[in-house]
């Protein structure tokens, strides 16, 4: 933990700590696949020194998977200090809150954040308002298409987060949820001055979209002129990497930063659930980009201009 009291957490699908001194908390689990989340509960190894652990539960959970997850978390709790469950499914929020085996946390996939990176172009200065494009109008005449600066309320909206609503947080607190999670989105964050919950920021990547099934897709990056950053399709997730911390991430309520050690762990080859068809991974199942290389600087990452979570 640094002098400002910011916790540093590392998220590995199966929590294995090479350097336990460098982290304050381990995250493990899977946010978009129940099969892999359950597998991570089976395969995770004990991390030493009593470092607290957070299990990340998936976004699409059947009733039977929910039972399976909770039983395994409870069993794992005997050997690992699993004291939090990140809930990316509303049913998990209800069940974990009522069950009491660990503290429920509202996951980033339930935050309501706008994660399409294209909105980062909207605010004044980034919108090509001076550019004109010829178009054919409905009446058949030629005209031009032009950008315009976005209204102030919209500029605020794209950075604001529905789950920061005070009445919503009050409702969540009655369910036992006192921590909410966000992604480090390209357009930055705008949070109320006095957020009535603790907040976690996922620094390494932003989930743009999720399909229930893994579908064939190309390896590597997907680019399009309208997108300010390339997208990556991995298993059933479409995401972009978020290299640096964006404006608003220094909000005092954000007291935990999560970095992913790997996002390319291999799919379980025996999986018969929806989420296994083709894995885009290399033969070793390792992360080609190395989102986090295992090292940790001592200074606060917000002081950096270069991301700490990239390999040199």
């Amino acid at each position: 933990m640094n002098p400002r009291g910011i916790q540093r957490a590392i998220w590995n699908e199966t929590a294995i700590g090479k350097d336990p001194d460098a982290v304050d908390r381990w995250y493990f689990g899977h946010e978009t696949c129940a099969t892999r989340a359950i597998a991570s509960l089976t395969n995770s190894v004990t991390v030493g020194d009593g470092i607290p652990c957070t299990f990340v539960s998936p976004c699409f959970v059947s009733d039977s998977d929910m039972v399976s997850i909770l039983r395994r978390v409870e069993a794992l709790g005997k050997s690992m200090p699993v004291d939090e469950i990140v809930c990316n499914d509303w049913g998990m929020v209800e069940t974990v809150g009522r069950n009491g085996i660990a503290r429920p946390v509202l996951g980033r996939l339930l935050s309501g954040q706008i994660t399409d990176p294209r909105v980062a172009r909207w605010p004044e200065g980034s919108c090509p308002s001076g550019r004109t494009t010829p178009i054919r109008l409905p009446d058949g005449k030629l005209g031009v298409l032009r950008g315009r600066p976005i209204p102030a309320e919209l500029a605020e909206r794209i950075r604001s987060i529905p789950s920061a609503d005070a009445s919503f947080l009050d409702w969540l607190a009655r369910l036992g949820v006192r921590r909410i999670e966000f992604s480090n989105v390209l357009q930055g964050l705008s949070l109320p001055a006095s957020l009535q919950a603790s907040a976690t920021l996922h620094c390494s990547d932003v989930v743009v979209s999720v399909s229930r099934t893994c579908r064939p897709h190309p390896d590597g990056e997907l680019r399009s002129p309208g997108f300010p950053v390339p997208l990556q399709a991995i298993d059933n997730v479409l995401r972009y990497r978020s290299g640096i911390l964006h404006p608003g991430s220094d909000h005092p309520a954000i007291d935990r930063l999560v970095f992913r050690s790997s996002v390319n762990a291999p799919c379980n080859p025996t999986c018969t659930n929806f989420t296994t068809q083709e894995s885009p991974l290399d033969a070793t199942g390792t992360c080609p980009e190395g989102i986090w290389d295992g090292s940790h600087p001592t200074e606060h990452p917000w002081q950096r201009t270069q991301p700490e979570n990239r390999k040199p």
Partner: protein
């Protein structure tokens, strides 16, 4: 042996003009739903899908008078009428969205389609008597999620289109006595709607067939201003350039709509008796075609003495036009 109790299957049809109500009813729709995107909202937040999941003025009503005429026409025909306010809203937006919901209620609308807990809480505080339908955007995929939203006044659950019918049946069996609705025509997508961060905006086709003397800087040319003039399309439809060089698109560019006609009986057996048609902005003729196809399948199910309709064979004329990947709940999903 007594026969199973007949189940009334209801068709929920999309609407974008009040004048469509009688035609939709005649085709067999039992309820309608619509969106609303008034000029005041557009001036503050733009016309992307920030108020419901459909963008622009083509797919949405624009004025209070249209809300009133729609609600009145539905009431005269005994149809339910729902207003989709089904995205998530920030604290700053809630008062305006609540005003719209209450305007709809005062116009005679019967329900709202919502995914935002903040809005459900605000509706509760306001004392609104609107029925609340939980949108599929809430991604309510298990019975625990049903139990979470019931205390917020939700009476109908629109289940995610990615669930199997067996999964829907399990939910309905655990939480019986509620209304369950499922997407049954149009709007099938690769991505889980409730987990999709791509926004929907209006694509403006660029004109390439220009006269030689065309001058884009001519100030007399009519001008359309947009917040995102470079919008290329919905994320599921964009042809991305991949690292391997070949263009890649997530969605399928098929003219065949997403369809669950063959599964109407199975859905009803599962307890899902409200069948939703997507495509608010589609031409009326296309909406009527979808209603008639679902109505025909529903009538077969309802009139079946065995309590369930026989499977539709592959050679049946009603399956003409079936395409792989377009079936909502079948084996090719």
């Amino acid at each position: 042996m007594s026969l199973p109790t007949p189940v009334r299957i209801r068709i929920v049809a999309p609407l974008h003009r009040p004048e469509e109500v009688p035609d939709l009813a005649r085709a067999g729709a039992d309820e309608i739903y619509c969106g609303y995107l008034p000029p005041d909202w557009i001036s503050r937040y733009g016309d992307w899908d920030g108020l419901s999941r459909r963008q622009g003025t083509v797919a949405n009503l624009s004025f209070p008078d249209q809300l009133r005429r729609t609600a009145r026409a539905c009431a005269e025909l005994g149809m339910g009428s729902a207003l989709a306010l089904n995205v998530r809203f920030t604290e700053a937006q809630i008062p305006s969205v609540l005003d719209i919901a209450l305007l709809w209620e005062s116009a005679g609308g019967t329900s709202v389609v919502v995914s935002c807990p903040n809005l459900l809480l605000a509706l509760d505080r306001s004392g609104s008597r609107l029925q609340r339908h939980l949108s599929l955007l809430a991604n309510c995929a298990n019975s625990a999620a049903i139990r979470l939203f019931l205390p917020l006044g939700v009476s109908r659950f629109v289940l995610p289109r990615e669930l199997t019918i067996a999964e829907m049946a399990r939910i309905a069996a655990v939480e019986p006595g509620l209304e369950y609705e499922a997407m049954s025509y149009h709007d099938k997508c690769t991505f889980v709607d409730g987990l999709c961060g791509f926004y929907h905006d209006t694509v403006q086709a660029v004109e390439t067939d220009l006269p030689a003397d065309f001058d884009a800087s001519d100030p007399s040319l009519p001008c359309v201003e947009r917040i995102d003039p470079g919008y290329e399309g919905h994320g599921c439809g964009i042809a991305f350039a991949s690292s391997q060089g070949a263009p890649f698109t997530f969605g399928t560019r098929s003219s065949t709509p997403g369809c669950a006609v063959c599964d109407v009986a199975a859905l009803a057996d599962a307890g899902v008796t409200f069948l939703k048609i997507g495509g608010r902005g589609l031409p009326l003729a296309e909406k009527i075609r979808a209603i008639r196809r679902l109505r025909d399948a529903a009538d077969r199910r309802e009139s079946s003495t065995a309590g369930r309709a026989a499977p539709i064979p592959p050679q049946d004329p009603s399956r003409k036009g079936c395409r792989e990947g377009r079936c909502y709940y079948g084996t090719d999903r």
